[in-house]
Amino acid sequence: MGGFWRNFCRNRGAVVGLVILLLVIATAVAAPWLFPGSPWDMAGMPFAPPGEMGMWLGTDSLGRDVAAGIAHGARVSLLVGAVSTVVALVIGIGLGATAGYLGGVADDIVMRFTEFFQTIPSFVLAILLVAIFTPTIGSIVFAIAVVSWPPVARVVRAEFLSLRSREFVQASEVLGKSRLAIVFGDILPNALSPIVVLSSLMVASAILLESALSFLGLGDPNLMSWGFLIGSGRSVIRIAWWMSVFPGIAIFLTVLSLNLVGEGLSDALNPRLARNREGKA
């Protein structure tokens, strides 16, 4: 564990990312105390610019406090991002590993299934699913997960496909290790770094996907999310730039931190690579 931390902390960007991410999480947790009451409450004049009337990030078209919206929105956006990614990872790794390791008929079936999902334009599928189940946080998470897992499956399969014929796997097979042990003990750890990189990207893209759905009017109307804020600020961007700029920055920072942390994790999980990188630098 100590080695992991040392390796993680060696990457300065990762530490910065972790600090930002923790700040975002802290904001999300503390939102009800920082901004008591509902973020939907009309707290001032509509379209008050930042700094006026005590709203340091301005107000929106109904006079709601943008800062309160961002703080409360952090809860929803992070939740949507995390939950849908976890669901997508479980599906993706399961299917990808099965396909890549077993090969043959299993691979064929899984890949047809994956292809099936990839062949439908994912955004259209997400819209369709949300439209059928009406926009609620549940249907949005479900839709995002359903359209996000195929890349995981494909990358995992590709990794498994190329790792499976490696010497160390063949060695384990010769030694008579069980399939599960090989998959989880030998192959998966070696395939982890692209998965980690990918999943940090996926949380971010889930947040972005949610904002795109909101932008098309398919967000959960009862929950304040960053996607909602950008969606509602988007059309008044020339009257009230702050309405979309600040939630945009919130998304940007969160995505940035997730990526930096992901990279740090990748370095820490793959010390050989990290040492190598250090030696070069």
């Binding site: 509509p46 439209a131 009406t134 009862n222």
Partner: protein
């Protein structure tokens, strides 16, 4: 009575030409030939043939290619279009129209009384529910001679003369439709009308181009060479297109209300909200009376008093439109300003809810109901959010559901909602556009029927009386009473008389010259 009405209409018939000439002169500009008007159509119409499709965008574009017998000014007085004059028999049963001479369809065929009879008695009767409701009262439609048409009604129907605008009964060529399935006829894809502009080109998703019809029946008109409708699905792109001069005009829902103040401030743009009087759109909160406690009139009245309608008109719609006072749009005939729905009063609202036995629980919530947002653009989403906060102030929790148009249409039609927003055109007359939302005979699983399920025999009776009376004074009496009754029953929460901004470059003239605004033929619009 009949004589005085005829006299009034004859004067009205002579007026518009004078008015328009004066208007142009007053601006010190002479009509000028030439130039192309570029504007926007949104959303893109599925079909351009009027009758086959009667959605707003279709009507606006097709209104340039087709014409009705009459047009209407802002006071809903009829003016000549394809009919140059008309007469009503003293018993109110026979309507005789004299048609303009030398009117040609775009394919060169002359337009005659036969085409008029076909359009009214067959084409629109078959295709349009709105036309069907009224033209079903015609006992007989006769082409007296090539230029005279007579309609004989089975019973007097006072608002009959309001039914001849291009948007409800455009004259279509009989020779291209008769004996065919109207919806499948080749002319649907290439519309042929009598209007000043003819269909030239339609690149789907991109633009529609109409060009000047050289054989148009008004000499030297139209002034414009062409009209191009560009398809721009995003509201900000539309605003940019207008600001950057890529289009000269926007209309209807093209520009979001919050963008209007800034555009109004620009010296080169004219912003008009007139030109919707013929339609008289009124917006309200639809209550489902089958859902408790919305069946209680005290609850409905309390919710009405919880909403600040001035805020909606001023802050959400930026002054485009005005607060509703009751079930009638103020431009609708027989509007009675003395029947007023209760104003914004939170304390009275709370008192009423207490009286109805709905006490707040620990979280201050008296009851929870759902609200389906109207999926017609951003401002309606804001409206739903505003209503939620408004109701919250009196302890009513509104759970928002956002849906798309398909879901909204189906669930509204199937009464599967607690509350939702709706707006309906009143078409100038209570019988044509108000009655349908309140009478119990129209409680149907169909959009734009009485989906709220409100029923009051007295209201039914008054609407019937107002519909069947030939004398406007009798109608006024019935409709005044109905307005008072409705205001006290609060079947719906009336919010706003809607208007839509027409924004155009000041180089354009004569854009809004009637109560149907941008739906007009534009034969007198010119660039100078």
């Amino acid at each position: 009575m009949a004589v005085s009405r005829r006299g009034l209409m004859a004067t009205a018939a002579a007026l518009p030409f004078l008015m328009r000439a004066e208007e142009a002169l007053a601006q010190g500009v002479q009509p000028k030939r030439g130039g192309t008007l570029t504007t926007i159509v949104n959303p893109e119409p599925p079909v351009l043939h009027i009758g086959i499709n009667n959605q707003g965008p279709t009507l606006i574009v097709a209104g340039k290619m087709f014409q009705g017998l009459l047009r209407y000014d802002a006071k809903l007085q009829p003016m000549p279009e394809l009919a140059k004059s008309w007469e009503i028999s003293p018993d109110g049963l026979e309507y005789t129209f004299r048609l303009q001479e030398n009117v040609k369809f775009h394919d060169g065929q002359p337009m005659t009384a036969e085409d008029v009879v076909f359009s009214i008695m067959k084409f629109h009767m078959e295709l349009s529910p709105r036309a069907r409701g009224v033209f079903g009262r015609i006992k007989e439609g006769i082409a007296v001679d090539a230029n005279t048409v007579k309609f004989v009604l089975s019973a007097p129907f006072e608002p009959f003369l309001l039914m001849f605008d291009v948007t409800v009964s455009a004259i279509v060529p009989k020779h291209l439709f008769d004996g065919q399935d109207y919806r499948q006829a080749p002319a649907v894809a290439k519309p042929v009308g009598t209007g000043p502009f003819r269909f030239a080109e339609w690149q789907r998703g991109n633009f529609i181009r109409l060009e000047r019809f050289d054989d148009y029946w008004k000499p030297n008109q139209p002034y414009l060479d062409a009209i191009i409708y560009r398809v721009v699905p995003d509201s900000q792109s539309r605003r940019l297109a207008l600001e950057s001069g890529q289009v000269m005009m926007t209309q209807s829902n093209d520009i979001e209300p919050f963008d209007v103040p800034q555009l109004r401030a620009r010296p080169n743009f004219e912003v008009k909200t007139e030109g919707w009087e013929y339609f008289g759109p009124l917006m309200w909160v639809e209550f489902n009376h089958r859902v408790k406690p919305l069946d209680d009139v005290r609850v409905r009245r309390a919710l009405t008093m919880a909403v600040n309608r001035d805020f909606i008109a001023q802050r959400l719609w930026f002054g485009i439109g005005k607060p509703a006072t009751g079930p009638f749009h103020s431009a609708t005939r027989f509007y009675d300003g003395s029947a007023k729905t209760p104003g914004y009063d939170l304390n009275a609202a709370k008192a009423l809810l207490d009286e109805a036995g709905l006490k707040p629980n620990g979280q201050g919530v008296r009851f929870t109901i759902r609200h389906m947002s109207l999926p017609y653009g951003e401002v309606f989403t804001r409206l739903a959010e505003f209503l939620r906060q408004s109701f919250r102030q009196v302890g009513v929790d509104l759970q928002l559901e956002s849906v798309d148009v398909g879901t909204w249409s189906q669930r509204t039609a199937n009464w599967d909602f607690d509350t939702t927003i709706n707006y309906l055109y009143q078409y100038g007359d209570p019988t044509l556009g108000v009655e349908r939302s309140y009478v119990s005979t129209n409680i149907k699983k169909i959009l734009f029927s009485n989906v709220s399920g409100y029923a009051n025999p007295k209201v039914d009776e008054l609407f019937t009386k107002g519909r069947d009376a030939a004398d406007p004074a009798v109608r006024q009496e019935a409709f005044s009473e109905v307005q008072k009754l409705l205001v006290s029953d609060v079947p719906l929460l009336w919010l706003m008389e809607m208007a839509f901004p027409t924004i155009y470059d000041k180089k354009l003239h004569n854009v809004i010259t009637s109560g149907a605004g941008v739906h007009a033929s534009f034969d007198d619009v010119f660039l100078a």
